[in-house]
Amino acid sequence: MAAAGGSGGCWFLALALGVSLLKCLLIPTYHSTDFEVHRNWLAITHNLPVSQWYYEATSEWTLDYPPFFAWFEFALSHVAKYFDQEMLVIQNLNYSSQATVFFQRLSVIFTDILFVYAAHECCRYVNGKRPGKELLEKPMFVLAVLLLWNFGLLIVDHIHFQYNGFLFGLMLLSVARLFQKRHLEGALLFAVLLHFKHIYIYVAPAYCVYLLRSYCFTENKADGSLKWSSFSFLRITLLGLIVCLVSALSLGPFAVLGQLPQVISRLFPFKRGLCHAYWAPNFWALYNAVDKTLAVVGIKYKFLDPEKIPKASMTGGLVQEFQHTVLPSVTPLATLICTFISILPSVFCLWFKPQGPRGFLQCLILCALSSFMFGWHVHEKAILLAILPLSLLSVESPKRAGIYLILTTTGHFSLFPLLFTPPEIATKILLMLLFTVYSFSSLRALFRKEGRLLNWLETIYLIALVPLEIFCEIVFPLTPWKLKFPFIPLLLTSVYCALGITYAWLKLYVSVLTESVTVRQKAE
């Protein structure tokens, strides 16, 4: 927006600088417990030998990210000591002096440089089919804004406090490398990423299948199907080597120390409930809601005996362990199976109807979305894993743009409960409006000739988010229900957003599967 003139990459720099300055302005805002989590990790990695990292438990926020992230904190801690020594003391729980806040916030802003670079790389490979237009309506420019100024990333990283920026930077960079046919580099980046934060394992199937199918098999038959004889052992060895080396570098030291089981148990805490305290807007939120409704209806019409119903389910929506009353309870294994089944079609599609890197990207988004839909203890923030890569596709076709608008708007809206302090309510609403107005108007301008991006039902659904927000943040606190049913705004938000995200997921799935059919027909 700022860069109306200028030449070449000047506008990109201006956009990146602009958003970095905005991030600096967010330094004094509210930060969540994640701030303390990362401070604690700084202290742990700074003071203890490697062998103690995954055992230390003075704070409740124990180290539960893979080793690379621990090393990252270790490196940061050596800069941190020049800001404030006290933050590196393990016993200083909830320590947040001004210098600490300043350092931690700045570390996020600076590591975001990787994200900026990745966004730059992605913008170079976007389909610039209509060059010579006004800068503001070039797909490159739109994509740059959608990535750099992404609302979710801004509030999760720079208000709520996390380090997603550079991690998504790694992911986007590896995607960009695959687009550039630099497969080994892409694989290396992704392997490294996995050892920074293991949540990215959700999209690993897409990487595996794509690299195996389109890199290890060097040729296709004339009809596009697999040519077994073209399998390259050299390539698969190289890939295997990369993965093994990275894993050895990361987990090796702990394997030598015999701590691997301890590390794994920290990384995958299955003891937590099906849903996070605030239900992420996925299939299980809908499932829980249906269960609750059935329970209430059942008691009212005497189908159920109130005596036999577990207490927790009736008192809260904020309770971690949610016991289902009517529908069967869900086990981790069940969610795993559901996730697996939901990912399967997209992976098959990638294997049998390869469409190059674009097909890979679609599969990656579908993997991310499917695991968000059915995963165990999913955080609402995980929706960014689908939103950011989908930005790349949104500027290429009007159909994807429509899905993108639904997914981002609902997904971002579902992040609202992360920020609840009064000053931040205004901030989040303004930022959300900024991003939403921009994404709608820019994508509509981009596909002006292709007609409308959303049908009337989708439009109504999205517009209804406004009254929902007004009800949850302004009207509800004034009503007497506030004390009796404090969970209602969260419940409403999560169920309503779950509808939109499920819809976007289904729509994307259907369009990817049907499109690949038409592609094949064209080929025939």
Binding site: M1, A2, A3, A4, G5, G6, C10, W11, A14, L17, G18, L21, L22, C24, L25, L26, I27, P28, T29, L136, E137, P422, P423, A426, T427, L430, L431, L433, L434, V437, Y438, F440, S441, S442, A445
Partner: protein, 507 residues
């Protein structure tokens, strides 16, 4: 993209920057016994809510004028009263008489910040948007760019949302005045400007250009016919709007006199603190305050102010045009700032806002001026703990101006509006074409100098013998800049009028 959505985005960006700056500290935060402007505004709410209107400006047992007594015109007082009613609804402790003195809390800060945002949203921002939307002979892109630059102008944001004041109200009303005048709605324009003066007496800096422009317009229409009617109408509007604003005080002459005494405190001296004007800078060499009697100081400052603003005002009266009116607003306000009596550092805003209005015409010079004006506030902002916000908003402003107007490429004589001046210089020195080069290198030198001084003020502790070293050097450097700009803007006004016809031909 459509114009309205770009404008919406621009406004949202402006709002986001404003709101995030307001998370920072404010003047006098946690500094008893006097606190700062934040406490002053809160105190006025307390006073106006609890005392009868007759006591507002008088020293009584309930109203100690030594402690942030009301010293702004009635509209400010009414605004405080309005805020006080809202405050009463939320938490009566905020405005309780006597006991609320020095009240500070997070919810209260949020409330105060919100009142600034609402006032800004109602008065200043719409004026900026309308002004930019109706700029003549400008592309949509330029309009959006101007709006973005004006809305992101750092000083106003830092003073209103950091330091804490309501400058956007009075400046917004003045802007409405300019807007109405440019559509020939002279009566509405004068009404808006009267509101501005009645909100803050500092708006008098702008009064001469308004007066001269309207007078010149009446002259143009002929003082015997239509012009006289217009003049009478305008005079009536001004008198009526003043009368309405001052109505509650019109019961006694003593009331009015007391308000006036509060508004123009002549006994407070030539200047306070460190101001980037000529008197403060000169006192580095000569202690003017000690050499002359206050009466002489008053006369001297009056004489200088009057002399420096005379040329622009005369030109404007004789040949009123909108363009010249805007330039006169700048040069008059700048003369007042540099030479008049009892100037505050914040008064530079009165110069900056008219400069903002010309940013699409002379982007480089305006950006430069606006950067200097923000820099001149540095000592104040440092005192308030707003260094981070200052650095960030200034850099953002520079980035936005540089990319949206590509200021470094537009340095030809036409772009600097110096064509006619250099033409007449070429009459004496035929080969004179140095303006673009000089200006460009001066700009770079000055920006570097400001950067270095900012860095030094922020990090170094001054030597014990010279505790005010950095504030004074900031003031002197800014003052030199302002003198340069005064010459520049006056040169444009004067040469523009002499070669007005030539210019039209060239264009």
């Amino acid at each position: 993209m459509e114009k309205w959505s770009l404008m919406t985005i621009t406004v949202l960006l402006g709002l986001i920057v404003r709101w995030t700056v307001s998370f920072g500290s404010y003047s006098g935060a946690g500094k008893p016994p006097m606190y700062g402007d934040y406490e002053a505004q809160r105190h006025w709410q307390e006073v106006t809510y609890n005392l009868p209107i007759k006591q507002w400006y008088f020293n009584t047992s309930d109203n100690n004028l030594q402690y942030w007594g009301l010293d702004y015109p009635p509209l400010t007082a009414y605004h405080s009263l309005l805020c006080a009613y809202v405050a009463k609804l939320i938490n009566p402790d905020w405005i309780a008489l006597h006991t609320s003195r020095g009240y500070e809390s997070q919810p209260h800060k949020l409330f105060m910040r919100a009142t600034v945002l609402i006032a800004d949203l109602l008065v200043y921002i719409p004026a900026v948007i309308l002004y930019c939307c109706y700029l003549k002979e400008t592309s949509t892109k330029k309009k959006i760019a101007s709006a973005l630059c004006i809305l992101l102008y750092p000083s106003l944001i830092l003073i209103d949302y950091g330091h804490f004041q309501y400058n956007s109200v009075s400046l917004g009303f003045a802007l409405w005045g300019v807007l109405f005048l440019s559509y020939d709605w002279d009566l509405l324009g004068s009404l808006a400007f009267c509101l501005a003066i009645n909100y803050k007496q500092m708006e008098l800096y702008h009064s001469l250009p308004f007066f001269c422009y309207l007078l010149g317009k009446c002259f143009q229409k002929g003082l015997t016919g239509k012009g006289l009617v217009l003049l009478i109408k305008i005079a009536f509007t001004v008198v009526a709007s003043f009368a309405i604003c001052w109505l509650p005080f019109c019961t006694e002459v003593e009331q009015i006199l007391q308000v006036l005494r509060r508004l123009f405190p002549i006994d407070r001296g030539l200047f306070e603190d460190k101001v980037a004007n000529i008197w403060c800078s000169l006192s580095v060499l000569i202690k003017i305050k000690n050499v002359m009697s206050p009466q002489t100081q008053l006369k001297l400052s009056f004489a200088f102010t009057f002399l420096t603003l005379l040329p622009a005002c005369i030109k404007l009266t004789l040949q009123p045009s909108l363009r010249r009116f805007k330039f006169a607003l700048v040069s008059c306000a700048l003369s007042f700032f540099l030479f008049s009596f009892q100037v505050h550092e914040k008064s530079i805003l009165l110069v900056s806002i008219p400069v903002c209005l010309m940013i699409n015409e002379i982007p480089l010079m305006c950006t430069w001026f606006l950067l200097v004006s923000t820099f001149s506030l540095l000592p104040l902002l440092l005192k308030d703990g707003l260094l981070l916000a200052y650095v960030v908003t200034t850099l953002a402003f520079l980035t936005v101006c540089a990319t949206s107007f590509s200021i470094f490429e537009k340095t030809s004589e036409e772009d600097l509006q110096l064509k006619s001046l250099s033409l007449s210089i070429r009459g004496y020195i035929p080969s004179f074409r140095a303006f673009p080069k000089i200006i460009k290198s001066l700009f770079i030198v000055s920006v570097t100098l400001m950067g270095i001084l900012t860095l030094m003020s922020a990090t170094l502790t001054p030597p014990q013998k010279l505790p005010d070293l950095f504030p004074v050097s900031v003031s002197v450097v800014s003052c030199l800049h302002f003198l340069f700009f005064l010459t520049y803007f006056n040169a444009i006004v004067l040469w523009d009028s002499r070669n007005g016809r030539n210019q039209k031909k060239i264009n």
